[in-house]
C-alpha cells in the first residue's frame, strides 16, 4: 500500500483523486501546495526540492497510517514533487476520502501539517535577484540562530 511517494515529474491531480474513489465515501478533501512567486517579501524565480527519500517514504507512510487510524479515514494519499519547480507548479498533493466530510478535512489537514514538519524534505529558493537559499537552514546557520522562532526536534 504505497500511499506516500515522490515524483520527479509534474504532479497531475486528476489520476490521484481517482485512486481514492470509493462508493462508501461521501466526502473527499484535497490539498495542493503550489510554488508561490514570493516568500517573506522576496520575489522567487523557481524552487528546488530535495529529500532523504529512504527515510521520508517510511515516515510518510507512518503519517498516512496515523491519519487513517486517528480519523477513521479509509483512503488517504500523498505525493511530493522533487527537483526543480517553476512558479505555480504543484509541490505536494494530499487527498483523503471518507464517509463524511469532517473526517476527510481533518485527515488532509493532518497529513500536510505532519509532512511539512516531520519529513526530511528541503526547499531551496532561487530569487529574482540571483540569490538563493535553503529555507530555514540559512537562518539556523546565522549568528542569531538562538533567537529564531521555529522548533527543532
Amino acid at each position: 500500500m504505497a500511499r506516500f511517494r515522490f515524483t520527479h515529474a509534474a504532479i497531475d491531480p486528476a489520476p490521484l483523486r481517482r485512486e481514492l474513489a470509493d462508493p462508501a465515501c461521501g466526502g473527499f478533501a484535497a490539498f495542493e501546495g503550489w510554488v508561490r512567486d514570493h516568500n517573506e517579501g522576496a520575489a522567487v524565480r523557481h524552487l528546488e526540492y530535495q529529500a532523504f527519500e529512504a527515510l521520508a517514504v517510511k515516515e510518510g507512510e507512518r503519517i498516512l497510517e496515523e491519519a487513517r487510524t486517528r480519523f477513521g479515514v479509509p483512503r488517504v494519499l500523498c505525493v511530493h514533487r522533487l527537483g526543480d519547480l517553476a512558479i505555480g507548479e504543484v509541490a505536494v498533493w494530499v487527498g483523503a476520502s471518507a464517509p463524511h466530510r469532517h473526517e476527510a478535512f481533518l485527515a488532509a489537514r493532518y497529513v500536510i501539517d505532519e509532512v511539512k514538519h516531520r519529513l526530511p524534505i528541503w526547499k531551496k529558493e532561487h530569487y529574482q535577484n540571483g540569490d538563493s537559499g535553503w529555507v530555514n537552514c540559512e537562518r539556523c546557520a546565522a549568528p542569531d540562530s538562538a533567537a529564531h522562532p521555529h522548533a527543532h526536534r
Binding site: A51, L55, H117, N136, C140, S145, H152
Partner: protein, 82 residues
C-alpha cells in the same frame, strides 16, 4: 578505540558545504555526535548540531546511539516546514 567503516550521506545545505552527496570513511567516532564533530573539522559546516537531527540506516536515531561497522549516517538539516 577501533575504527569503523561508515557511510555518510549529505543533503541540502550540508551537501553544498561538504561538496559531495555521499562518502565512505573510516572513523573512530563512537556516536553520531562524535562523527559530526569530526566532520566539522573537515568541512565548513555552519549548522550547529542543536538544529540537526540524525538518522542511522534510514531511521531517526539518538545522537548518543552507538555506531556499528557498516552504518549509514545522515545528519538532517532543519526541514522546509511552512
Amino acid at each position: 578505540m577501533s575504527a569503523r567503516r561508515l557511510t555518510v550521506q549529505y543533503y541540502a545545505l550540508l551537501r553544498e558545504q561538504a561538496g559531495r552527496r555521499e562518502e565512505s570513511l573510516e572513523s573512530a567516532a563512537a556516536t553520531p555526535r562524535e562523527l559530526y564533530g569530526e566532520l566539522r573539522a573537515r568541512y565548513p559546516f555552519t549548522l550547529d548540531p542543536e538544529v540537526l537531527r540524525v538518522a542511522v540506516n534510514a531511521e531517526f536515531a539518538e545522537w548518543s546511539q552507538p555506531l556499528r561497522e557498516g552504518d549509514t549516517v545522515v545528519f538532517i538539516p532543519p526541514v522546509a516546514g511552512g
